[in-house]
Symmetry: C2
Subunit: 216 residues, 2 copies
C-alpha cells in the first residue's frame, strides 16, 4: 500500500485530475474510434494541452492502450459482481442489463468500447489485438465458470456443456454491443437478452406456453 494522501510535491500542481481526464479521453475514443480521434479532440476533452497529455499518458497509442486495459478491468469487475451470489438467470440478466446501461450510457448509443473501437484496430495493432482477445476470453471464462457452477449445483441439467453455453452467452453480449452501436433501440435489445437467457438456462417450463409477459 502506497501513501496516497499528500506527499507534498515539489513543482507546479497539476491542473487535471487523472481519473477524469482518462474518462474523458475514453469518451472521445469511444464514439470516434481510435484512428479518427485527433490529439486536438483529446486535448479539448481532457482540458489538458498536448505536452501535458504526452507527459501523463505517452503518445496516442499508449493512451489508447491504457484505456483498453482500464475498460477490461472495469468489465471484469462488473461481471464478477453481477454473476456472484445470485441464481444464474438473475446473474445473466444483471450482466446484460449492466452492459446495456453502459452501451446506452452516452449522449448517443455507443456500444462496447472494446468491440466498438478495438476490433477495428486489432487487425493492424498486435498489442491491441492481444489485449482485446485476452479481455474477451476473460468474459468467456467468467460465463463458463458460473455456468459450470450452476450445472454442478443442479441449476442446469447435468448434460450441459458450460464452455459451449458460455460462448453463446458471449455471443449474446456481442449482439448487444454491436446492435446498440448500430442504432437498434434498447427495448429490442432487452428483449433479445431475455430471450437468450431463457434459451441458455432452459425454458422456464412452469409458464403455460413460450413467451409471455416477462414481468418478474
Amino acid at each position: 500500500m502506497v501513501q496516497k494522501s499528500s506527499p507534498a510535491k515539489r513543482g507546479r500542481p497539476r491542473a487535471y485530475d487523472e481519473e477524469t481526464a482518462l474518462a474523458q479521453a475514453m469518451r472521445v475514443f469511444w464514439t470516434g474510434g481510435y484512428a479518427a480521434t485527433s490529439l486536438d479532440e483529446l486535448s479539448a476533452a481532457t482540458r489538458m494541452n498536448r505536452p501535458s497529455l504526452y507527459a501523463a499518458f505517452g503518445d496516442k497509442q499508449a493512451l489508447y492502450r491504457t484505456l483498453i486495459e482500464r475498460y477490461r478491468a472495469m468489465a471484469r469487475a462488473a461481471m464478477a459482481e453481477a454473476l456472484a451470489g445470485r441464481p444464474l438467470r438473475e446473474g445473466l440478466r444483471r450482466v446484460y442489463d449492466g452492459a446495456l446501461s453502459i452501451y446506452f450510457g452516452g449522449k448517443e448509443p455507443r456500444g462496447c468500447f472494446m468491440i466498438g473501437t478495438a476490433v477495428t484496430e486489432a487487425a493492424s495493432d498486435r498489442t491491441v489485438r492481444a489485449s482485446l482477445n485476452e479481455g474477451l476470453r476473460e468474459i468467456d471464462a467468467a460465463f463458463e465458470a458460473r455456468l459450470r457452477q450452476a450445472r454442478d449445483d443442479g441449476e442446469l441439467a447435468r448434460g450441459t456443456d458450460p464452455a459451449a453455453l458460455a460462448k453463446l452467452a458471449s455471443g449474446t453480449l456481442y449482439f448487444l454491443a454491436i446492435r446498440s452501436r448500430a442504432g437498434e433501440p434498447r427495448t429490442v435489445l432487452e428483449r433479445a437478452a431475455d430471450d437468450a437467457i431463457g434459451l441458455i438456462c432452459g425454458a422456464p417450463r412452469r409458464e403455460t406456453s413460450a413467451q409471455a409477459g416477462a414481468s418478474e
Copy 2:
C-alpha cells in the same frame, strides 16, 4: 437488360477494371478500417490515381459506402445459398464455415468487413449506421426464416421460438467475426460454431453422451 459487350466508347479507354478495383479497395479498408485508410493506400491498391478514383467512385466516404453495400449483397446471397435446400444443421454449418473462410481469407485473419470496420464508423456516420443495421437485420431475418421453416417441418421442437434462436445464431456469427479478427485460431472458432449449432438445433441425443466426433 443493357447492352454490355462493346458500345464502342469515345475517349481513352480505362486502365482499370471496376470490379477488381473495388475488391482491392475493400481489401485495404478491411484490414485498416475506414478512418486509418488513406487515399494513397487506396490509390496504390487499386492502381488508380487519385483523380480516377474520384471520377469513378466519388470521395472516400462514397467509396466506403459503396463497398458496405456490396458486402451486404454478398453476405445476403451467401446466406441464402447456404441455408436453402438442406437440413437445418447442415445449412448452419455452411453459413459458419463460409463465414470463417471469408474471415480467414486474407493474408492475416481480418474478420467480417461490416463488423470489423463499419461498427466503429457507425457511431459517427448515420449513413453507415443505417446500412450496417439493415445488413445485420437481414442476417437475423434469414436465420429466423430458416428456423421457422425448420420448426414447421418438424426439424425443431414445436415450442421453439425462431426469432429468439435467430438472435443466438447471429450472436454466434458475431463471435466468429470478432474473435477471428482478435487472433483466435480458426480451429477454436470451428469448434465454437459446431457447439453453437448443437445448442441451437438441440443435442443430437442419439449419441451416447454430449460431444463426440461430429463426422457427418
